[in-house]
Each structure stands twice: as C-alpha cells, then as structure tokens.
Symmetry: C2
Subunit: 231 residues, 2 copies
DNA sequence: CGCTCTCTTGAGCCCGCTCAACGACAGTGG
DNA sequence: CCACTGTCGTTGAGCGGGCTCAAGAGAGCG
C-alpha cells in the first residue's frame, strides 16, 4: 500500500499546477487506483450498510448497485437524501458518528475506505485530496439542487425532475430501469406513494412516458415535455 | 503573503498527526490566521455578493452580518439553501461557475479568498486543507438536515426547528434577533410568508414564544415545548 | 394455487396556499 | 408638524393540491 501511495503521489507531482476544484473529474480517478487500500463488501437488497449514530470509521464508494442515504424522524417519517449510484462516494462525516443511515436498495457492492488511514494519505497526496474534496462539493451541490425541489416544486415537477435525473445518471438511451420502489421515490421527493403513482399514471396519459415491468421500467417518450415541467 | 503561508505551514507541521475530520474545529482556525491572504469586503443590506452563473473565482467567509444563499426557478420561485452567519464559509464550487446566488441579508462584511491561490496553499498546508474539508462537510450535513425539514416536516415543525436553530446559532440567552424578514424565512422553509406569520402568531398564543420589535425579536419562553414540536 | 409484496385507483378531507385587506412603522418632503 | 408613501408584518376568507383511508389489481414465489 505504501508503494501505491508513493506512485500516485509522484504522478500528481508531475501534473502541471493542478488547480483545486478546477477540473471536475481527472482522467483516471485516483480513488480507483488506490482502491486496494479499501475493502470490497457486498450487501443484499434491503441490508443496512450503517445506521445513524454508528461510529463513522469508514466511508464508501459504490461499485455496483444502489444505496439510499436517509434520515428518520422520531415517528417514522423518512427523508431519502440521495440515491448513490456506481462511482459515487458517500459516508464522509465531520464528526465521529454517522449522521444518517445507508441501506442497499438492491444487491450492492461497495468499497469501504478506513477513514483514519486516509488522513495521512490525503496529506501526502494532494491530487487525492482534491478528488475527495470535489466529490464532497458535488454532493453538496446535489443537495442544494434537491432543496429547491423539496421546497418549491409541485408534485408533477418533482417527478419530472427525478425522471430526467435518473435518465441522465443510469439510462441506456431513453429507457430507465428504476432500481427503487415507489416508497423510496416518495420519501426522496417529499411526497406520498399514492401521489407518485398517480402522477406517473397521469404522465402516461399525457404521452410523456411509458411504464413497463411492474412500473420499474420507464421509457421517456417526450423528453421535451418533461423538461418543460421540471421547473 | 508568501511569508504568511510559510509561517502557517510551519505551525501545521508541528501539530501532532492532525487526523482528518477527527476534531470538528481546531483551537484557532487556520483560515483566520491566514486571513491576510483574503480581501475584506463590505456589502450593504440587499446587495448581491455573486449571482448564479458568475465565475467562481472567490469563496467567502462571513466576518459580520448575514448572507443568504439561494436558487431561483424560472418563474421566480425561490429557495434559500442557507443563512450564513459569522465564521461560516461558503461559495466553494466544484465547477468554474457559482451554482447559486449570495446576497447580504443585512449590512455584512466578508473575507473573500481567491480560489486559485488556495490550491497550492491547501497542498502545502494539510491542516488548512482539513479545515476547508471539514467546513464543506458541515455544510453538507446542514443541507441534509434541512432536506428532512423541507420534505417531511409540517409548518409548525419547520418554524420550531428554525427558531431553535437560530437560537442556538446567534442568541444571547433565550432571545433571538432575527436578521432576516418573513419572506426570507418562508423561502428558507418552503412555506409562504402568510403561513410563517400565522404559525408564529399561533405560537405566541400557545405561550411558546414572545414577539417584539416589529416581529424581528423573538423570545423563547417555552423551549421544551418548541423542542417537542421540532420532529 | 394461495400468499405476500408492490403498485394503482378512488373518495373525501385538511393543511397550507391564494387573494385581499388592513395595520404598523420609518423615511421624506412640504 | 403632519400628510404622503413605501415596506413589512398580520389577519381573514375561501380554495385546491396533495394527503389519508380504503380497496382493488398485478406480479413474483413457494
């Protein structure tokens, strides 16, 4: 592992004045080259990666599958902050404990990085530090975009935004295979499951989308129409 | 400025194995000792620090006053992501442009840090890098907490949470001097100005709070009662 | 085939929004 | 000094989008 660290450090030393946050993603993410430093772990659908309040010894990167990151209120109301798709990093904390719960939406593989070990690695390897920083800032930007949705968009706009976002992030063509069920979508968008279902049905009637495979597959038939709705 | 940089780097080199994100705030924030590297700037109430889409050449730290960070939808609907109070850092981006607008809620003084200059500073000075990282992660945690509020809390709970948060962040005792007007509170909590006003009035009737100074000063007379409401 | 889990659809209600008026100040100018 | 004006906060009346409660429809699986 030391060898890997030095190698990547040498690479970054040669990169010409790598500006912090200047480029969003480097050609080959360092976090991948350093991957051996992390532990590969698998989780079955529905399994919990960690819970709110647990010690935050690790942070994670999704290899395959989907993770939902959520918070609960005392009476069980739930807010899903984000769905983490392959390539995305989550679980970094400023304190000692996790501030939210992470669960596998479907069968999922992640790489777990020990937090303490990465402190020194970050210091020795500026380029790696930049990437981690960039990743956290992107999470923040996504959170900010989502706050607009939660606070100011109508049900129709929320669904439209969600579908376009999912389409962009995991589609092959204009077909989207949703990994999560309606309850998850509802808790992500600040709606009820019934409103999600009704809104999707209405979009089918309006010719914006088509539903298949028990509602899990969505074909976007009028992308422009959806975009006009997304606020 | 070069002298200052080296000085702070030397200090951090002596700090014993400062673990990344291990402690939330160091005794003397480095960003303050390096403050000379930033430019002090003043903004009048209502003035814009930067707008969505502008080049993100600087990031900022609040010295005094209050900044609102917000996003607009095409039809004018607004979501205030956060109110930045003295000591807080904002305006860091992963891309080249600002993704949101920042405006002074009241007369405000900030320190503006040139982004490019801090890339090298971060690399030379791990402790500074840690602090910046910690600050961004804390913004993310706050955003996540706020998403629960926006997506899953009732008007009453939103107001209760807001008042307790403001009280914690800027109160002397149980009296809170709100720097922002009702429109800002509404756009922060995903409500209308009328609902904010009505809910506050109801809380006065319920003996939870007292209002003074044209509604800008709030005395929390039953903190437990408010806490029971905050979800 | 029956059981369970998920999604859909319907009927009715309520919380928060819309529209509108009024009140409380502060600043300004005659 | 007071009338005029603009900004901000409060209050009322009524509406409607999304929620609640309830039942039905598919799909997967033993």
């Amino acid at each position: 592992m030391v060898a890997i660290t030095t190698a990547t450090a040498r690479v970054s030393a040669h990169s010409p004045s790598a500006g912090l946050l200047a480029q969003r993603v480097l050609a080959t993410p360092l976090v991948d080259r350093i991957q051996p430093a992390g532990t590969r772990r698998s989780f079955a659908k529905g399994e919990e990666l960690f819970a709110e309040g647990e010690a935050a010894d690790f942070f994670y990167k999704v290899v395959s599958g989907t993770v939902r990151v959520c918070k609960l209120l005392s009476d069980g109301r739930r807010q899903i902050e984000a769905f983490q798709l392959p390539g995305e990093i989550f679980g970094l904390e400023s304190g000692m404990e996790h501030r939210f719960t992470a669960e596998a939406v479907e069968d999922t593989v992640v790489v777990a990085f020990r937090r303490g070990r990465f402190a020194s690695l970050m210091h020795e390897n500026p380029a790696f530090s930049d990437q981690l920083m960039s990743s956290v800032i992107q999470s923040l930007e996504r959170a900010q975009e989502h706050m607009v949705l939660l606070g100011r968009k109508t049900a129709q706009e929320k669904i439209a935004t969600f579908l376009l976002d999912m389409s962009r992030r995991l589609s092959r063509g204009d077909q989207v295979e949703l990994p999560m069920q309606r309850t998850d979508i509802a808790d992500h968008l600040g709606l009820t499951i019934e409103t999600v279902s009704r809104t999707l049905s209405q979009m089918v009637r309006d010719g914006l989308i088509k539903l298949a495979a028990a509602g899990r597959t969505i074909v976007i038939s009028n992308k422009g129409g959806l975009q006009a709705l997304n606020g």
